[in-house]
């Protein structure tokens, strides 16, 4: 029995959430649906940890769905890169679920909760599948599952702010464009190679001789993923989507959604097209690196001028995604492992930040902006302190996870001797201090407005919030596990084989 579970872990990771979704949608009790979701999220996390422990030494699991041999059947591949991404996604997904109970009940109608958690499970299952699948078309299916469900979740923010509907719609349309681009690209490559299995594609692409078809196919696939990963300038759906979605959803999406797309982007470039470096390298150094830097700057600057807190950090996410994409763009082992380190650390940082903002919003009963959170440090000290820790981590101060991220990214850039990029990264990271300072100053150093209502802390989110805050410090002091895992992930990705 135990052995059967372990061999089928990759499939279970997708199937369990997808099966829990319809059950959830039938439930009328919010608590019951939440409990079920929590169990689903928790078991996914355990499954991901088990996969990680199996693959960390370079073992590569190939799972054939329904025992159909690839390239005809669908194959799931889990190597150390996959499993690290999965651990981050499932871990933060679990923590976001822990926090969701209280955050959701304050923003969403109780009778819709069942459907909410159904969509929540669909997003999770879809994204887990997205990361594991080695079948290019199956990837598109998972992409659509998660995108549709995410749009539902974002739209559910309409209870507090009607703009969530527009944001959800934008997300849906732009996301569909991205997915369509991707599938068109797959079509081209399929026409050329006659296979949909990524490993097979990778093997046949160099032989197929390339030419325009290859370029176009590659271009469409990458462009599609750039949209999904919210890389500048196709990031425009992200700020609105994150900021009008219910807080629990912002937490979930910030922690896991774009991370999955970034991972897929890396798979496309390094695994599928790893055999034709002349194409992949051009895309990396001439497209992804400049766009990443553009995103870093645009996100940071927009965050500086933003007064709405959720939007501020949504813009900041655009910048942080830029850092991750930049590491991938360097295409060196150091750069890619820096990306993986930041994928994990950024999930910790943003997960905590959006959770804390959710706490503020619940207490304020209104959107959090620079005016309404004035002096909140003294009014909600426990939530605000966790927020502060995550903020320090975002700024990259020593003893926090963010510092480790920046350090490894800077070192990777230095290795490639691109001093211009280095200078730009340092400038942008100095700029990011501006908005963080602005918000911390308002929160901690300004007195609360007179006649302000008393704010109630949310003990229900203490546990998940402080797990994340503690994680930010833990991975700032002892980064050895993460650094080793990221290194092994980079080896798995750059090593070629899919």
């Amino acid at each position: 029995m135990g052995a059967a579970i372990i061999t089928n872990l990759p499939a279970l990771l997708v199937v369990v959430p997808l099966l829990l979704a319809p059950v959830n949608s039938l439930l009328h009790s919010a608590s019951l649906a939440w409990m079920l979701t929590l169990i689903g999220a928790g078991s996914s996390f355990i499954a991901a940890l088990m996969l990680q422990s199996i693959t960390e030494n370079g073992v590569r699991i190939s799972y054939h769905l329904g025992n159909w041999e690839p390239p005809w059947g669908i194959e799931f591949v889990v190597d150390s890169a996959t499993s690290l991404t999965l651990v981050v996604m499932t871990g933060l997904g679990f923590i976001a679920t822990l926090a969701a109970r209280r955050l959701v009940s304050s923003e969403i109608n109780d009778k819709d909760s069942g459907k909410f958690y159904a969509a929540w499970m669909l997003v999770s299952g879809g994204l887990f599948g997205l990361v594991m699948t080695a079948d290019a078309f199956n990837l598109f299916v998972f992409l659509e599952i998660s995108a549709l469900a995410s749009a539902i979740l974002i739209g559910m923010g309409a209870g507090t702010d009607r703009r969530a509907l527009v944001a959800g719609f934008h997300y849906l349309v732009i996301g569909a464009v991205g997915a369509t681009f991707y599938v068109i690209g797959v079509g081209f490559i399929y026409a050329m190679t006659g296979t949909l299995n990524m490993g097979d594609m990778a093997a046949r692409i160099p032989e197929a001789g390339g030419g325009a078809v290859l370029h176009v196919g590659f271009g469409f696939m990458v462009a599609g993923m750039l949209v999904k990963a919210a890389i500048f300038p196709v990031h425009i759906w992200l700020p609105a989507a994150y900021s009008y979605a219910p807080s629990a959803v912002s937490t979930l999406l910030a922690a896991i959604a774009t991370k999955a797309a970034l991972y897929v982007l890396a798979r496309i470039v390094f695994t599928i097209f790893g055999g034709v470096p002349e194409i992949a390298d051009i895309a990396l150094s001439n497209v992804i690196v400049p766009l990443a830097i553009g995103g870093i700057f645009i996100g940071t600057v927009m965050a500086i001028y933003e007064a709405d807190i959720k939007k501020m950090f949504a813009h900041s996410s655009v910048a942080q995604i830029g850092y991750i994409a930049l590491g991938l763009g360097l295409a060196t082992p150091a750069g890619v492992s820096a990306s993986f380190i930041h994928i994990a650390n950024h999930a910790l940082i943003k997960g905590g930040i959006f959770m804390a903002i959710g706490g503020f919003v619940a207490a304020l009963g209104a959107r959090a902006n620079l005016d309404s959170i004035t002096g909140i440090g003294r009014r909600m000290p426990i939530t605000a302190t966790a927020f502060l820790i995550c903020g320090l981590s975002l700024a990259g101060l020593p003893l926090t996870a963010g510092f480790i991220s920046k350090l490894y990214l800077v070192r990777a850039i230095l290795e490639t001797e691109s001093y211009l990029i280095l200078a730009l990264v340092l400038i942008s990271s100095a700029l990011s201090v501006v908005y963080l300072w602005k918000i911390m100053e308002v929160m901690w150093m300004q007195p609360a407005p007179v006649r302000s209502p008393k704010l109630a802390e949310n003990p229900a989110i203490y546990l998940p919030l402080w797990i994340v805050a503690f994680g930010n410090i833990w991975f700032g002091i002892d980064a050895s596990w993460l650094v080793a895992a990221a290194r092994s992930a980079a080896t798995a990705l750059l090593g070629g084989g899919a």
Binding site: L397, L407, V433, W437
Partner: protein, 486 residues
């Protein structure tokens, strides 16, 4: 006796224990108020033990954690660190006594919170002093900033809040934007951050880039109050005087110049700087700060504001010594950390004592008050003479060595700068005294005698005298510090 590791643990943790216990001891005010001085004595004994070991040629070490390769949380006491540790812990004893007198005499609110953060700040200062690498130094440098914020804004008034905002934005801003990149730069180009006698940058970085890196350090360390990033220091004077005395004349600002000195001696290496001339520009900036802030000090009527600008000027003596980068100049700078600390804390103690006892804050109000508070003004006189650098006071040694160091390194103009600065010191530090003793009284004051605010300045004044005759331990440590490669 204690083992060295134990001594280090005690020195680092005793202030923290005081901070943590303070809220619980607050049930009896006498317990709470005794905790500070007792903690001070314990910390000082530990610091003395550690300093003796350093004099013996050892490097006391305490390893805490490994973050990643080449990045560790480790304490290792350099001779400079031993000096700073002694100063911070020794003066804490008296400052803690003084705090009790000041806070009680002034009927300040939130005395428990104040005492707790005060001790945290001392803890951070000790950790800065004994840090074994740049990372640890940076971390506790930041903790020092954060722990002093509640002290600066203690009054919770709008003025205090604004000052606190300026204080944090300059100190945190410069450290995150300039100092941290400088630390990362060092790590990336050398793979290590551990302090090493003689420095470790020579041959590792392009000499043409050295002035830029040094600039990141000099301006990143806002606590050294080099112009133009000095504004936080006068702003911080809204804090109760015990804060100005121990923290903004000793622990915080000295942590700043200590950082610069440490970077020069143990990261760059004096020889490297002297050879490349990378610190030449800093000599002139420091000289400018010395003179400009002395001029500003003359215009200030508020006693604490004048002392603050005097501090900015004196801090630049130390930066100057570091920038000259000769072994004599570094000795002078290291000694000046001690001498200025003893002198300036005396002056601040006196300013606070005058405020507690007579509620005077301005120099123009001091006319004829000398006889009302003879002990206080006598202490002020001695402190002022020490800052000016007149024998037989401690301050004369450091200034003398600095001057010799400047000449030896060929900076003749600096000699003139130091001389001129001394003259300005004479004017702005002795003016309050001449008013107090030689003018007629213009206002009637009801002086209430509070022994706890009078005894500490008298003691620190005596220390200033004592430091002239018994400066051996500090001089030996300073010589050890300035001796490049061993």
């Amino acid at each position: 006796m204690m083992s060295l590791q134990t001594a280090m643990l005690v020195g680092l943790l005793a202030p923290l224990v005081v901070a943590l216990l303070t809220p619980f001891l607050a049930v009896r005010h006498i317990w709470r108020d005794a905790a500070g001085p007792i903690g001070g004595v314990i910390t000082f004994i530990a610091a003395l033990e550690v300093a003796m070991a350093v004099l013996d040629g050892q490097t006391p070490r305490l390893f805490v954690a490994q973050i990643a390769e080449g990045l560790a949380i480790e304490f290792a006491v350099t001779p400079l660190g031993a000096i700073f540790g002694l100063v911070a812990s020794g003066l804490w004893i008296l400052a803690a006594l003084y705090t009790v007198g000041y806070m009680r005499g002034n009927h300040e609110k939130h005395q428990t919170r104040f005492a707790a953060f005060y001790a945290v700040a001392v803890h951070a200062a000790m950790a800065v002093a004994w840090s074994g690498n740049l990372l640890v130094l940076f971390i506790f440098y930041e903790i020092l900033t954060f722990s002093t914020y509640p002290l600066v804004t203690h009054k919770e008034s709008a003025v205090a809040r604004n000052a606190g905002r300026l204080y944090m934005s300059i100190l945190v801003g410069t450290s995150v934007v300039l100092l941290l990149p400088a630390v990362v730069w060092v790590w990336l180009s050398t793979g290590t951050l551990d302090f090493r006698p003689g420095g470790f940058l020579a041959g590792q970085i392009d000499p043409a880039m050295a002035p830029i890196l040094l600039g990141l350090f000099a301006f990143g360390v806002g606590k050294a109050a080099l112009m133009p990033i000095h504004r936080w220091l006068p702003a911080a004077m809204v804090a109760p005087t015990p804060v100005s005395a121990l923290l903004h004349a000793v622990a915080v600002v000295k942590a700043g110049v200590f950082t610069i000195l440490t970077v020069v001696v143990y990261v760059f290496g004096i020889d490297f700087l002297a050879k490349t001339g990378a610190s030449d520009w800093l000599v002139w900036l420091a000289a400018f700060t010395i003179l400009a802030s002395s001029m500003v000090a003359i215009t200030k009527d508020d006693i604490k504001a004048r002392l603050a600008y005097s501090t900015i000027s004196q801090l630049s003596y130390i930066v100057l010594g570091a920038a000259i980068a000769s072994s004599l100049a570094v000795q002078g700078a290291a000694l000046h950390i001690v001498m200025h600390a003893a002198g300036k804390i005396t002056l601040f103690f006196c300013a606070g004592a005058i405020y507690v006892q007579a509620h005077l804050t301005k120099i123009s109000e001091l006319d004829g008050q000398g006889r009302e508070m003879p002990w206080v003004f006598a202490a002020f006189f001695i402190g002022a003479l020490s800052i000016i650098g007149i024998p037989p006071l401690g301050g004369s040694w450091s200034k003398f060595i600095l001057m010799v160091g400047a000449v030896e390194a060929g900076y003749i103009v600096i000699l003139a700068v130091l001389g001129l600065s001394s003259l300005l010191n004479v004017y702005y530090l002795l003016e309050p005294l001449s008013r107090a003793f030689f003018r007629d009284k213009t206002r009637v004051t009801d002086v209430a005698f509070h022994p706890l605010v009078v005894v500490p300045p008298v003691l620190t004044a005596l220390i200033s005298i004592g430091l002239f005759f018994f400066d051996e331990i500090f001089l030996d440590l300073a010589i050890l510090a300035s001796r490049g490669q061993q």
